[in-house]
């Protein structure tokens, strides 16, 4: 066992709006050493840090747009979001729920604040990730996994340190409920002040930790403040986290696909030709239809 060290701790980049319903810090791709290749298979991460939306009769959000070649994963920490797609899928996610949409060969979808929630308004906090798909699965049929908070498997940590909620992958033998196309670990570590948790992932897995609530220290040395993202180096296979206050930490670790990436807007494929084909297919209605 060798310690996985911290490569960098990134402050949240200046926020921008996606549509009018998501005020996000875009950590991936971009910034310093966090491009798609380095972060593979986590090719996009938008973090809507806590933000208060005032009451609105017309729900805010993002209108109809396409995706092809990857999965979108929305993790709701606060607030409620309704989702619809051109395959007839849809649903509402609220606090603790996860919407795991495999866009694969292509869907149109739209995401809005859930109507009743929008009327009341309130604190909103979410993470949206794009998880890349292996070449062989990019054109597989779209699917949708609605993961309710109470179905997520939990591991109670020793010494009353807190709980690990395993969304995907595995923690100390407990499996996540989400099915994935390549090895991906995704979990929320809910630690009490002073609580410790250790993690083991292969050295080559790309690994990040996002401080959703509170702050924590990695390997006894690196402090990660609220809303900051720690990128782990690929130099070891285990690390330890200690909460400096009651904390919620999103932990992601995935095996890089190591396949060529061609990306434009909402399409992530392996070649430029496949991107051009995605654009043509979108223009010609091959992603279906969804009313705005």
């Amino acid at each position: 066992m060798k310690t996985k060290t911290v490569e960098l701790v990134a402050a949240p980049p200046s926020p921008h709006f996606v549509g009018d319903g998501f005020r996000v810090h875009n950590f991936i791709p971009g910034g310093f050493r966090m491009d798609m290749k380095r972060m593979d298979p986590f090719i996009m991460m938008d973090y809507n840090s806590k933000y208060v939306f005032p009451p609105a009769t017309k729900p805010k959000g993002v209108g109809v747009h396409p995706h092809r070649g990857f999965e979108t994963v929305t993790i709701a920490y606060k607030g409620r979001v309704a989702h619809h797609d051109s395959g007839g899928g849809g649903g509402v996610i609220g606090e603790g729920d996860i919407q795991w949409m495999t866009a694969a060969s292509g869907v149109l979808h739209k995401e809005y604040h859930e109507e009743a929630w929008s009327k009341k308004g309130g604190e909103f906090q979410m993470v949206q990730l794009w998880v890349n798909l292996p070449k062989k699965d990019k054109m597989s049929p779209p699917k949708y996994q609605a993961i309710k908070y109470d179905t997520i498997n939990r591991v109670a940590l020793e010494n009353n340190a807190g709980t690990i909620e395993v969304i995907a992958g595995e923690y100390q033998g407990t499996l996540g409920v989400a099915s994935t196309f390549s090895p991906v670990n995704m979990m929320n570590a809910k630690l009490k002040k002073g609580g410790k948790a250790s993690f083991q992932f292969p050295a080559n897995f790309n690994t990040v930790l996002l401080a959703i609530e509170g702050s924590f220290i990695i390997n006894g040395t690196e402090q990660v403040p609220t809303d900051h993202l720690a990128l782990m180096a690929n130099d070891g296979d285990q690390f330890e986290v200690e909460a400096s206050e009651d904390s919620v930490i999103l932990v992601l670790s995935g095996e890089p696909l190591n396949e060529p990436i061609a990306a434009q807007g909402p399409f992530v494929m392996n070649t430029r030709e496949e991107i051009a084909e995605a654009i043509d297919d979108y223009n010609l209605g091959k992603f279906g239809h969804l009313e705005d």
Binding site: H65, S86, Q264, A276, N283, G285, K286, F287, H289
Partner: protein, 197 residues
């Protein structure tokens, strides 16, 4: 600051070494324009041609009722100007606005004069650009007068493959001369025909 794309574009179209024309191209000014800001507004005189190195511009007019009509979208490697205003020295009727953060080259008459003097095939190249533009405008008039909404749309996606992903559909509808509902119907009909679950 230029990304160098304009120089590469001109050199390759003129079949010249970049070194040969770099000092003339360097006489052009470059501008970073933020999304939403204008390179030209109605009633101003247009003094430049614009070449888009990165980003996206849109040329449009506003009618007496306040409705926008998109004349053209101008993505990377495209030129735009108001030839009427530049050539006849008249106030423009058009707006040229950045739809995305863009890097733009401002081309003035000095550049054209220098290029014409120093580069023998520049006039021919410039003439070709002008005729391309006229040919495009002719086709656009023909489509607006005689083509169905679907035909206009199919022509649009060939000419501007990725624009639907970059601007609101209302702007595309205003380019096609149809209502946003009309555009939505065309796209829905295509989806019903082409979408295989």
């Amino acid at each position: 600051m230029s990304s160098g794309k304009f120089l590469t574009y001109i050199a390759s179209h003129l079949n010249r070494d970049e070194a040969e024309i770099s000092s003339i191209v360097a006489s052009c000014s470059f501008k970073n324009v933020k999304k939403g800001s204008y390179l030209l507004q109605a009633n101003e005189h247009c003094n430049h041609g614009f070449f888009v190195e990165t980003g996206l511009l849109r040329q449009y007019s506003i009618d007496k009722k306040g409705k926008e009509h998109t004349i053209s979208f101008v993505p990377e490697d495209w030129f735009v100007t108001d030839r009427d205003s530049v050539f006849f020295n008249r106030p423009s009727k058009y707006f040229i606005q950045a739809q995305e953060d863009s890097q733009v080259v401002l081309i003035d008459q000095n550049y054209e004069k220098l290029m014409s003097e120093k580069i023998p095939n520049f006039a021919e190249f410039n003439n070709r650009l002008l005729h391309n533009h006229i040919s495009q405008l002719q086709e656009r008039i023909d489509l607006l007068l005689g083509a169905t909404a679907k035909e206009r749309y199919l022509h649009f996606i060939k000419m501007y493959p990725d624009i639907l992903l970059r601007v609101p559909q209302t702007m595309v509808a205003s380019y096609l001369g149809i209502t946003p509902e009309g555009l939505s119907r065309v796209r829905k009909d295509l989806a019903l025909k082409n979408f295989k679950k």
